[in-house]
Symmetry: C2
Subunit: 372 residues, 2 copies
């Protein structure tokens, strides 16, 4: 991490090119005075900054499309070191660029994560595999992502599995998604890896919702619903809209996602989701009965085949001895049938929301697959 000083950036980049095959620099390409990366890198390469016509045009277009005036400071974003190659940025005003210093490529990318990722994929990664940089051989590995099961239980079930004997096994957990990563300790492990993968699939079956980079359960569930054409609606209480936010991050979901309700108040549960007052009084807002009524109410109201209902206590307030913070009831409705689950989550408000969302989506997934 280098501060916003061009002289330090120049010194560090120069030093890096003496040690490494290539250098990636991110950030400091914005329009403001503390954005000094382009000056620092130009100094490292001992070249002046020049205005790149293609970059300038692109920045102008960016503002034209938005009907906004381009300021002088944005014009400065079209400067790149002389002799450098431009990486046009279609989603922001800061283009990236490449400059060869000491015979090694220095890639400069904007710091906004989405812009950085885009330019990295489009310009940097292809350059690294064409022989100008050096491509790292990735060790062979298998990654399986599961939900609805605990880390300890996964560990107990794979302990002593013969096919894993010579392999390196790691188990991680993130928002109730368990990832089993298996990699070979040496180069010749591909066959052994495949045998291990088969064994793990046999043990965990469709607890596994994704492999490799497919580690987002909302993507797995969203794709499944789109593929099967199953329309759905959501009724959220303690997750407060998170479930809707996750599902609407899946491109194409608007074909099947009809409506979501964040029923935070008792009134909203009764009025919008048609949860009977009697149920609410007899069992309380946080109960399996209310979760079931929410799931069904959401689906029926929206005219959807499927519905999810979640109600719980995310804290920090609201807990009681019988229903402490972390108590969450969830239910899934599908074509007339209902399933529910009760969980006791540890963690803070955000963790409880995330874990609830993961497990509710997994419940719907398994209902759709017919394995509940």
């Amino acid at each position: 991490v280098i501060g916003d000083r061009a002289d330090r950036i120049a010194a560090e980049v120069r030093a890096a090119t003496e040690e490494a095959d290539f250098v990636i620099v991110t950030g400091g390409l914005g329009p403001t005075e503390d954005d000094v990366t382009r000056r620092g890198v130009a100094a490292a390469g001992d070249v002046p900054l020049v205005e790149d016509r293609a970059a300038l045009k692109q920045i102008e277009r960016f503002f034209q499309r938005r009907n906004r005036e381009m300021s002088e400071s944005n014009r400065g974003q079209a400067l790149i070191p002389q002799g450098g190659g431009l990486f046009p940025n279609p989603i922001g005003t800061a283009p990236g660029f490449e400059l060869i210093i000491n015979g090694h490529p220095v890639f400069c990318l904007p710091g906004v994560p989405e812009e950085m990722r885009l330019l990295m994929k489009k310009y940097v990664l292809p350059r690294l595999s064409d022989g100008k940089g050096r491509k790292q051989a990735r060790p062979a590995r298998v990654r399986l992502h599961l939900a609805g099961i605990t880390e300890s239980s996964v560990n107990e079930q794979i302990k002593g599995l013969a096919s894993l004997a010579d392999l390196k096994v790691g188990i991680t957990v993130h928002h109730s998604v368990i990832t089993i990563q298996v990699s070979a300790r040496d180069d010749g492990g591909a066959g052994r890896l495949e045998a291990a993968r088969e064994d793990l699939r046999k043990i965990f079956g469709n607890r596994i919702f994704g492999e490799g980079t497919d580690n987002r359960i909302e993507e797995a569930v969203g794709r499944l619903l789109i593929e099967k054409g199953i329309t759905f609606a959501l009724a959220e209480s303690c997750t407060g809209g998170l479930l809707g936010h996750m599902m609407t991050s899946v491109p194409g979901i608007s074909d099947v996602f009809l409506e979501g309700t964040v029923a935070y108040s008792v009134d909203a549960k009764m009025r919008t989701l048609a949860v009977p007052e009697k149920l609410l009084q007899e069992h309380g807002q946080v109960s399996s009965q209310v979760a079931r009524a929410m799931a069904q109410g959401a689906a029926e109201r929206a005219g959807a085949r499927a519905g999810i209902g979640i109600t719980g206590i995310a804290g920090p307030g609201g807990g009681t001895p019988e229903k402490p913070v972390g108590t969450v009831h969830m239910a899934v409705f599908l074509d007339g049938a209902l399933w529910d689950r009760r969980y006791m989550f540890g963690g803070d408000r955000n963790m409880i929301k995330r874990r609830s969302a993961t497990l509710a989506l997994d419940l719907l997934r398994r209902a759709v697959l017919g394995t509940l």
Copy 2:
């Protein structure tokens, strides 16, 4: 970053204690076989692992409270290096611990971010300021957080400001929140900093929604609504629940947040939010008219004083030449009055959702403050 090998952890931790005043280690305290931090750190300190009774009791209680059986691998989480001090973990099964190696404290914390943060605040930070570690003097600085204004515009407005002359100024932007950070270049800058802060407050007025660590606009808006007792409802289309998710991360919000609707389909907009079919046909789903009707419909339906309506095209599909991806209309309803805004956002689906949510919350904030 050290891999899951106890011998490497031992070597690195030992080396770190020879160079640094204190060492913080995170991760690898879970129940599975690849969680080898406690073994590695014990080896670095040349002491055996012992079962800590207090830790074991706490883990047992964790499982009892959840009615789950404790596995043998969880029992292993009660092991800490002999002579170490336990950091009980109230929200997970992995306790942290401290061990003095080479005269310097080594703090081991779980890797789950929420657990790590909690133990860091409760045990590590106090230890670092009581003379056993060394407390870093923080350079004096002022941070102001703004919304509803562009980075370039902020830059233009503060250019040449006399009170900033001797100070270091940085401007960053994250999901449409602009942060101006001003810090002194030397120790005697406190008076100059205060003058700069006053000037910036004069220039930007209530575009500033927070200072210092208060950089979450949902917190600022939520606290304001709770303080003024203004009930509200949400009607989201392209943000898909994100607004509800953000607002329900504010403790105590249930006092004023009545209901949210994710009206993804045309039907949902008409049925749940009472948006007239005529409006939808004449102006299209993505229009200021529909955003206004959504804001008002949400508030009236829930019986709330305030409502937010957002409708837009988050992409990647759905754009047209007149309404390209990134077009977002938002409206705020408050006590019978309505305001709306139109934006053209760059960026991908997630960026468009985040930026829309920030600016809609800021619109409500300024409506409540009476400065729209």
